[in-house]
Symmetry: C2
Subunit: 697 residues, 2 copies
C-alpha cells in the first residue's frame, strides 16, 4: 500500500531533463531544490552536461549509482516511456511527469499514456501526471514543480492540504490560501492521472496525521469507489474535505471534458454521493477557502442551532436571512435569559439575533455577560458576532477579545466566528484567540453552515448500509414488464398483482377473478412505450368490454410495433387514487448503482425534485431521501390530505437499492413507475428493468 | 418639490444639543463641521454655554438672527417636538433628528413621531429621522453624523450614493465601499422615517446628475409607489440601483419588524416588483459592493452573451459553471475564428471558454490577437479574463494591460472584467485602464451578470402598461362564485358558462341544455370551501342523476353550513382535460394589486413555482411571467404534449391585472382557479373575488 510519505517524502530525487536555466520547466524545480532547503540527494539527469546549475549531472538514470526515491520527468513526451522503464529498473518509488502531449493531445498520446498506466500497474512504481504541474511538501522544502507561483509565495507548513487535477488552478488555490494565512504542508496536482488521481490523493491525505483539512479540485473522478473510501476515512478522522467538482453546467462539463478528455458523469449524482460521504461540495474557490480558513481551530459544531449577536439591528437581520438560506436554526433565547439581557441593556433586542446596540462598546463588561448568556442559556451550537469596523479599532479590540475569550471558557466544542472590519494585524489577534474573522456577515454565516455540516457528518459517522445478498442472475435477453414485475415482487418489492392473458377469454377470466375494473396493457419486452402504440386501456369492466379491449390492444400492437415479440396482455386491478411516485435506480459511470426517488412525472422531469443516493442504503437513509424532496409536503398532509407513514416508502426505497446493488453488474436501470402511495401501503403499478448493453426500442 | 440639494447642500446648519465633547452625539458632528472643512455657517445651540467647541453658541434656534437651512437635533426625545416647532418658525428646509426614543421604543414614542410627521407635512419642513445616524455630502465636507466611522475613514466625492434605513449598517456599507476605493458624495440614513424614507432618498438620488450608482439598504418600504417611481427615474437615467431589502426569511422579517416597527410585506412581491422596475436586489453586502465597484466605468453590456478567456482550463470551467448559474449565454466562437486561434496556439481551446494556456505570458502579442478575435468575431456583449497571480507581476502586467487596452479600442459598450491576483497598486492600474478586477472568478461572473441585467433593463426602459378604465364599483357585500364569474366574464375574462339552478328541475333543464356530463356546485357567498361541505359533484349525466345530485348537494350544504345563505346550485359543463393553472391577484400592503400566475395547486403551493407582477401589465409582460415558471415546459410540449400558444394565457393574465388595478380600492384578492389551459383556449372553471375587509367563512 502506497502512503503519502512514499510519494511526497523522498530521500532522493532525480530530475530527468534538468536545465541550467532556472526559468525553464527542467530548471525551475532544480533551483527550488537548491535554494529552498531540500535536504535529500539531488541528481540532475542531462546527457549533454557534467553539471547543471552547479550540481553534478548524469547522462541517464541508469548512470546514477545510488537509490532514487523520486524521479521527476521534464523531457518531451516521446522520451517519457523510456525514462519510465529506467525508473522501474532503478526501483524508484514515484515517477512524476511534467511533460504534456499525452491523452489531452491526441490518440497517439493516449496510447503512450495507457502504456504508462500499464507499466505503473505492473511494476508498482507510482506515477503522478503526465501533464501535471507538480507537487510539494513544504515540511521538507520539497518543491518538485515548475509553477512560478512558488517564486512569488512560499508556503508555511500546516494542516491544510490541496489536491487538484488542474495544475494552474491548483496554483491559484494555493496562492490564495497562503495569502489568507492558511498554512499548508502538502500540495498535489495530478494532471492526466494515468495512475495517481485526485480520489487517491484525498485518501492518502485523509490517512496522514498532520493533515487537518483537505481542499480538492476535480473536473472528473476516475474512481468513484476510492473517492468514497477516501471521504469516509476523512470523516472517521474528523477532517473536512472541501471539494470543488467543476463542470456542473452543460458548457462547463463540455469544457472540462475537452480539457481532461474524461467523462463528466451526472452532476446531480456527484452532489448526492459527496453529501452522502460527508464531503462539502463548494461551488466557488472563495467559498472553499473560507471553509478551510475557518477550519483552522478544528472546531466543528454539533448541530445547526446558531446564536447571532450584533451591534447593528441591520446586521442581525442580514445574518438571520443568510442563516435561514443555509438551513440553520435561529432559535430564540429562553424568556428568562432575555429578561436578564433587557435588564442589562433596555434597548437591546434579546430574542435572536441579539442586538446589544452600540452600548456594547461603551461598556465592555457587557461583552462576556451577553455572550455567556447566549452560550450557556441559549444552548446554541455556535455563535456569530457582527461588530463592523469598531471591533477593528486598536482601542476597542483588546477589550472585545478579552471579553469574548472569557465567555468561551468551557465551550470547547462551540465555535464563535467574528464578523468585523479590521487591519490584518488586528484580525490576526482575533484568530490567535481562536476566532475566525470575516468582513462580510453573510460569508460568515455560509462558512458556519459548512462547518456545522462537518460537525454533524463527523458525529454521525459512516451510515450503516444493508448487506447485499448474492441473487440469482437476471434472465438472459431483454426483460418485459411482466418479468420485471415478477422478479422485483419475488425480492419483496410491493408490486401490483396481475395476470398475463394470451387470449380474450383469459383476460375476461382474470378480470372476473379480480372483481373490480381492471387495466389492460400490452406485454412485450420489445415495446417500452406502451401508450404510444395504443397498448394501454384503463378502468375496463364487464366481460364484453374486457374482451373487446384485449382484441383492440393486440391489434394496435400488431400495427404499431409489427416486429415486436408479443407475450399477450397484462390484466391488473385498478388501484385507488393516491400519490404517484417514481422509484428507480441507474448505473452511474463513476459511482455505480444510484437509487432515485421522486414524485410523479412532472415533479421529477420538470421540477427536478428528486433524491439520489449511492446504493445500497438503509431505511434510515431512505427516509432522509424522502425528506429532501420539496414535494414531501404531500406526504405530510399538505392540501388537506392525511399524513402518510413515510417508513413504508423508505422500506421500498432501501429494498430497491439492495436489489440494484446486487445486480450492479447487469442492470443498467430499474424503474418502478408509478409507485402509488396510498394511506396504508405503497404499490408499484408498472416496472421496468433495462439490462446493460440493451438498447431502447 | 424637494431636491437632493435642499436636503444635503445647506448654506447654514444649527446643531441643537451641541456638546463640547467631540466624542458625544452632540459634539462629534460639530467637530466634523469644524475640522473637515464645511464652509457654511455653523450655529451651535446650547442654553448653558456661550461657546461650544470654540464657536459662539445660542440658547435656542429662535435666538439665531440668521437663516438656517439645516437643523440637527441631538436632544432627548421629549425635547424634540419643541425644537421642530422652532425650526418651522425659522423656516428651516430640513430637520434631522438623531434622538431615539420614538416609534422604535414605545407607544408614547410613536405618538411623538406621528406628531413630527404631521408637523412636517403641514409645514413643508422636511424631517430626516428620528433615530437616525445622519447623512453626508462629501463634496462640501458636510458631515452631520455621529458615526465614529468618519474618524476612521473620510470618503472621497464620487458617483456612488448610499441610502440606508439602518444607520449602523449604512456606516458599515460606507466603510467597505470606501475601503474598496469606491468614491461617494452622498450618504443618507433614514432611521425611523417619520418623513424622508429610503424610497424617496432613492428617487432624489436618481434625479441628481452627479450620482451614477445607488446602493440602498432597507428593512421595509414605506411607499411602494414612490419606490417604483424612483427606480424608474434611475432606469431612465441609466443609473443602477442595487437594493438590499433584508428580512427575506421568517426570522429575519421578525427581527426587522421589531427593529423598525414596520410591516414586512410579502418578500416574493418585493422580488418581483424590484425586478420589474429594473432594480437589482442583492442578498449580501459583498454582492452589492461588487456591483457598485464594477459599475465605475459606467458600462452596462447590451445582452447576456459572455466570452470567457483563461490561462487555466480549470478557471475556464469554473467561470462557465458560474455563467450558467447566472443565466448567461456562453456561446461558442465561430468556427473560422476558432481556426485562427488554433493556428496561433495549437494547444488552445478555442470554443468558449477560450483557454489560451500559459503560452499567453510567453508571447504577449497573443493578448490583443485573441481578445480582439473574441470581441469582433465572437459577438459577445462582454468578456471576462482569468489570469490568476501571473497578471499581478510587475513584469507582466504592463504588457497585459497594453494588449487588453488595444483590443478594446472601438468597443465602448463592452465591458472586460479581469480576474487576477495582484497587489492593490497593480489592480489600480488595471482599474484606471477601465478594467474592474476580481480575485475570485465566480464573483467576477456574478457581478457581470448584474451589470448585464442593468444594461438590458436600461435599454428596455419602463415597460408600457395598459390603460386602467374606470369600472363600475363591485356590488355591496360578499360576492358568490356565480357573481364573481359573471363580473369577470363581463370584463372579457374566459369563464366557463354555467347556470344557477334553484330547483332540481332547473338543474335537469340546464344539464339537458348543455348536452354532455355536468358539474354541480353549491352556490353561496358564505361557503368558500365547497368540497368540504359535500357541495361539489362532478361528471354527472342523465336526468335522474342530476336531480339526485342537486338534492344531495342542497342537503349537504344545509347540514354542513346551516347558517349560510344558499343561492342554489351551479350547473356547468365538464371541460376536457388540460393544464390547470391559477390566475389571481392580491392587494399587497406596500405595492397594491399584484397579479399572480402559476400552475395547478401543488406547483404553486408546494413547489412555489409562481410568477408575480405589480398590476397592471401588458400581454408582453405577462408572457415574461409565464416564461419565468419552471413549469412552463408543460406549455412547450414537455412529456409528449402539444405546445400551446402562450399568448392566449398572457391575454388573460394582462386582462385580470387591469381588472385588479381598476378595483384596487375594494378587491382584496381575485382568483381564477383552476384556469384550465386547453390546446386552443383557456377557461376558468371557478372564480372568487374577496373584497377588502371581508372575512373568510
Amino acid at each position: 500500500m502506497t502512503t503519502l510519505d512514499d510519494l511526497l517524502t523522498p530521500r532522493s530525487v532525480a530530475l530527468v531533463g534538468a536545465s541550467d536555466d532556472p526559468t525553464r520547466i527542467g530548471g525551475r524545480p532544480l533551483a527550488f531544490f537548491k535554494n529552498l532547503g531540500y535536504e535529500g540527494k539531488i541528481f540532475p539527469v542531462n546527457p549533454n552536461r557534467d553539471k547543471v546549475q552547479g550540481i553534478d549531472a548524469y547522462p541517464s538514470l541508469a548512470d546514477i549509482n545510488d537509490e532514487i526515491d523520486f524521479v521527476l520527468v521534464a523531457v518531451p513526451a516521446k522520451g517519457v516511456l523510456d525514462v519510465m522503464r529506467q525508473a522501474i529498473d532503478k526501483r524508484a518509488k514515484t515517477v512524476m511527469i511534467f511533460s504534456s502531449g499525452f491523452g489531452e493531445m491526441s490518440d497517439e498520446g493516449q496510447v503512450m499514456q495507457d502504456e504508462l498506466s500499464r507499466l505503473s500497474r505492473e511494476s508498482g512504481v507510482r506515477v503522478i501526471g503526465p501533464n501535471c504541474l507538480g507537487v510539494f511538501n513544504s515540511a521538507i522544502n520539497f518543491y518538485p514543480t515548475f509553477t512560478s507561483t512558488i517564486e512569488r509565495r512560499q508556503p508555511n507548513p500546516g494542516g491544510l492540504a490541496i489536491a487538484s487535477q488542474s495544475g494552474a488552478y491548483g496554483s491559484h488555490i494555493f496562492y490564495l490560501a497562503d495569502q489568507r494565512g492558511i498554512d499548508m504542508t502538502y500540495w498535489i496536482t495530478t494532471g492526466n492521472e494515468c495512475d495517481v488521481h485526485v480520489a487517491e490523493a484525498i485518501k492518502l491525505l485523509a490517512e496522514k496525521e498532520d493533515v487537518h483539512a483537505i481542499c480538492a479540485y476535480a473536473e472528473s473522478i476516475k474512481d468513484g469507489d476510492m473517492l468514497v473510501e477516501g471521504l469516509e476515512i476523512a470523516r472517521a478522522n474528523r477532517k473536512p474535505v472541501v471539494l470543488m467538482k467543476v463542470g456542473r453546467s452543460a458548457v462547463g462539463a463540455e469544457a472540462a471534458s475537452s480539457h481532461t478528455a474524461s467523462l463528466a458523469g451526472d452532476d446531480k449524482v456527484y452532489d448526492a454521493v459527496l453529501k452522502q460521504a460527508g464531503c462539502y461540495r463548494a461551488n466557488t474557490t472563495e467559498e472553499a477557502l473560507d471553509i478551510c480558513y475557518a477550519a483552522r481551530p478544528r472546531i466543528y459544531p454539533a448541530g445547526r442551532r446558531i446564536g447571532l449577536v450584533t451591534v447593528s439591528g441591520g446586521g442581525g437581520v442580514l445574518m438571520a436571512d443568510a442563516a435561514e438560506d443555509h438551513g440553520l436554526d435561529v432559535a430564540a433565547m429562553p424568556a428568562d435569559a432575555q429578561a436578564i439581557m433587557k435588564e442589562l441593556v433596555p434597548f437591546a433586542a434579546a430574542r435572536n439575533p441579539v442586538d446589544v446596540t452600540a452600548q456594547f462598546f461603551n461598556d465592555m463588561t457587557l461583552v462576556p455577560k451577553f455572550t455567556k448568556l447566549m452560550l450557556e442559556q441559549g444552548n446554541y451550537d455556535a455563535l456569530i458576532g457582527f461588530w463592523t469596523s469598531v471591533a477593528g479599532s486598536p482601542r476597542i479590540s483588546p477589550h472585545l477579545r478579552a471579553g469574548l475569550t472569557e465567555a468561551m471558557q468551557g465551550h470547547d466544542r462551540k465555535l464563535f466566528i467574528q464578523s468585523l472590519i479590521a487591519p490584518p494585524e488586528i484580525c490576526k489577534e482575533y484568530e490567535d484567540d481562536g476566532f475566525p474573522c470575516f468582513e462580510d456577515p453573510s460569508r460568515a454565516v455560509a462558512t458556519m453552515a459548512a462547518l456545522m455540516h462537518f460537525g454533524i457528518a463527523f458525529d454521525q459517522g459512516r451510515a450503516p448500509t444493508p448487506d447485499v445478498p448474492k441473487l440469482p442472475a437476471l434472465p438472459d435477453g431483454g426483460l418485459g414488464e411482466k418479468q420485471a414485475k415478477a422478479i422485483l415482487a419475488d425480492f419483496g418489492l410491493p408490486m401490483v398483482q396481475d395476470v398475463l392473458a394470451t387470449t380474450a377469454q383469459g383476460a375476461v377470466a382474470a378480470a372476473a377473478n379480480d372483481g373490480g375494473p381492471v387495466a389492460l396493457k400490452i406485454a412485450s419486452a420489445d415495446i417500452l412505450h406502451k401508450t404510444e402504440v395504443g397498448g394501454v386501456e384503463l378502468g375496463v369492466s364487464g366481460d364484453a368490454d374486457v374482451s373487446a379491449s384485449f382484441e383492440r390492444i393486440m391489434a394496435n400492437a400488431a400495427k404499431g410495433a409489427p416486429n415486436a415479440n408479443i407475450d399477450g396482455v397484462i390484466v391488473s386491478p385498478m388501484v385507488a387514487d393516491g400519490i404517484d411516485c417514481i422509484l428507480g435506480s441507474k448505473l452511474d459511470p463513476v459511482f455505480g448503482p444510484i437509487v432515485m426517488f421522486g414524485l410523479g412525472g412532472i415533479f421529477t422531469e420538470i421540477m427536478g425534485d428528486v433524491s439520489l443516493r449511492r446504493a445500497p442504503i438503509s431505511e434510515a437513509t431512505a427516509l432522509e431521501m424522502i425528506d429532501e424532496l420539496k414535494g414531501r409536503a404531500l406526504f405530510e398532509g399538505a392540501r388537506g390530505a392525511k399524513p402518510i407513514d413515510k417508513t413504508m416508502i423508505a422500506k421500498a426505497i432501501s429494498q430497491l437499492s439492495v436489489f440494484a446493488a446486487a445486480h450492479a453488474d447487469t442492470a443498467e436501470s430499474i424503474e418502478m413507475n408509478p409507485l402509488r402511495v396510498l394511506d396504508d401501503r405503497c404499490i408499484a403499478l408498472d416496472a421496468l428493468i433495462v439490462k446493460k448493453g440493451a438498447e431502447e426500442h
